[in-house]
Symmetry: C2
Subunit: 391 residues, 2 copies
């Protein structure tokens, strides 16, 4: 059985990822494939590593892209640092903290689940209490909870974890290249991200970085890493100076990541962070003017992932369908306990621009009207415009 | 630090993969990205699954593409079927059998290594002897050893493994869509492949298929699968009718696989197998006329992976560099114990065409001349042309 040729629709990707992709990144995907040991590709790998270090704000030599999606990056961090029986504390205030705990449990870790209701963030005091009690080898925490939009401050927590002699693993899937991810300044020992969020590259690669303490812990392992595919010891030989064949890297995905990273660094990290924040503020002003509230605390909202409470009387699925089918706009529904309660509006990477904010606010007004909900006509757009003017 | 824009060279990919890629597949890579839960993408996943079933010659519902390269597919098969302490027999006659054994050992299997010198294949008798003695839960074997070019017959072995009540896992990375891979006729319980070989798609996805006995074995597990990312129980919910979010699939990679599969099925499997065989015979005739011999036994040479002995007096690296730099032709060197002893000439998927065979033979003659090796001038090309005429 064969099927007709691919004709994907043009979407405005305002969900929790993938985000919009610059045409030059899509064009890079279609560049001629070379071999994974071709001198050209080896040079490209060097450049990807160098640019990833800049974006992660680190000098860690072991900074590279795992050949899988963000969850493969999460598993890479855990499987290389944890041996069966090791103690690990995981902060769970959303779906992705829960996933990290499950990944660690499957790998035989003794996991202590440090929990907070969805949407909240952890205080230094509670982290200190748990870490002092458990004395873990590894602490895992999510900087940007894609399921709730919560932005976890890391400065104090990093100090607490290191004082206790533990390693800090941070989920930067949604934060990298959207808000500061300061690996070296905070001494974060291992971190992972995804290509399809604020890097604005198609999904398929997971940038990771490992610091000296993490590599030391790997060197001290008594058992081999249970995953051959994700073993950093083996990957170091391919991404390091040996260039020993490990697996066949996704060549064209790495082309795309190379171009996406070029765009990030051409814009510059401070400008990019400011752009995310500016358009987030405009979106928030517009939504508030329409009577819509965020699900999380006001002082810990991520700029690139806006989790808003579905207005009373609105049909979750109907609104998202109308946005998709009539306007081509994708937004995200709620995950886990947030299902049916929130919408998640992404402003990640290329998606974070004025035109998307305005179109979304205007389209949402129409969709709410269809549901019998009538915010002040044009109030969302007016408030967003006012916010930009004031900024 | 930023780098200049990507300008990969045009290569003729005659190595052990990646293979040449049809322009329509590269164009599909650059189609607009949609969300991983977009109705359009869910339909595309259905179509990819359906076409993969045709190529694997199976009706297995659980047939899909793992979001990683071929080695991730290997790990998926092993990690889902093996629990710590399970007995597994792995046939090792090349690098990839050795890799499967290592993957299984890391996951706690009691592995029996059934070994043969590189380049040879296993006889039914020796498989029967080992299987009867070990009584394993799983037997793993490589149909197409990419490191040696050996083509393992499977009919008798499949019967022997099933008579012993074991599950048969087959590595089809290099064979799928190049020679028959008959999952249902042989009752193969699990198999994995890679997108970048005879499917002629960029690397980054690993087609896998699981039969009913394999799924039953997964249902009977007493421990969870140690890898969250590769857990078929979770992936069944995403690729199955539930469409429950698991991970963000590599959207554009799946576009490319969709188009690559369309091309495979438009050509038709019998025609595609015949094409691989025809051009392999012409290549072999040409090489033999130049005094070059294959490294493996004549009756078990894969058509798409031609492992030839480096002629005495030729400098391995110098010849491969000249081919690459002067002709744009990539061929593979030897892996493991074959390093420095063989060259590996791929004729996979789009690469398997007359023009590549002729150019390679002509270019190789020039490179050998540079090394002071002088086959009969034009003999390779003449013999290849004669082989096509006679076919």
């Amino acid at each position: 059985m064969t099927f007709s040729q691919l004709t994907p629709p043009q979407r405005i990707l305002m969900g929790p990822g993938p985000s919009e992709i610059h045409p030059s990144v899509l064009a890079a995907m279609a560049a001629p494939t070379v071999g994974h040991l071709d001198p050209y590709f080896l040079k490209l790998m060097d450049e990807v590593q160098s640019m990833l270090r800049d974006v992660f704000q680190t000098t860690n030599p072991m900074t590279m892209a795992i050949s899988g999606t963000g969850s493969a990056g999460m598993e890479t961090c855990v499987v290389n640092l944890i041996e069966p029986g090791d103690r690990m504390v995981v902060g769970i205030n959303g779906v992705f903290g829960g996933r990290m705990a499950e990944v660690a449990e499957r790998l035989g870790a003794q996991v202590t689940r440090m929990e907070r209701p969805f949407g909240e963030v952890f205080t230094p005091e509670e982290v200190r209490a748990v870490v002092q009690q458990v004395q873990p080898k590894v602490v895992g925490i999510v900087q940007a909870e894609t399921s709730t939009g919560a932005w976890q401050p890391l400065d104090d927590i990093a100090a607490i974890v290191h004082e206790a002699g533990a390693l800090l693993v941070v989920d930067c899937v949604t934060s990298l290249a959207g808000v500061p991810v300061e690996i070296d300044r905070l001494g974060i020992d291992a971190a992972y991200s995804g290509s399809q969020k604020c890097l604005s590259c198609p999904p398929g690669l997971s940038p990771v970085t490992f610091g000296p303490r993490a590599l030391e812990a790997m060197d001290k392992r008594t058992r081999r890493v249970s995953s051959w595919y994700l073993d950093i010891g083996l990957l170091r030989n391919y991404w390091g100076s040996n260039r020993a064949y490990h697996h066949t890297a996704p060549i064209n995905m790495n082309y795309a990541l190379h171009q996406a990273l070029r765009l990030v660094l051409q814009e510059g990290l401070p400008a990019r962070f400011a752009r995310h924040m500016q358009h987030h503020r405009a979106l928030k002003a517009g939504l508030n003017a329409m009577g819509i509230r965020y699900s999380g605390a006001a002082d810990s909202c991520l700029p690139m992932l806006n989790s808003i409470l579905i207005p009373e009387g609105a049909d979750d699925a109907a609104v998202r369908s109308q946005l998709l089918n009539e306007f081509g706009i994708e937004i995200g529904g709620g995950l886990g306990p947030m299902k049916g309660k929130v919408w998640r509006i992404g402003l990640m990477g290329e998606t974070a621009k004025k035109s998307n904010v305005l179109l979304f606010l205007a389209a949402l007004e129409q969709c709410l009207n269809r549901q019998g909900i009538r915010p002040d006509p044009g109030a969302g757009v007016a408030a967003a415009n006012a916010a930009w003017l004031a900024s």
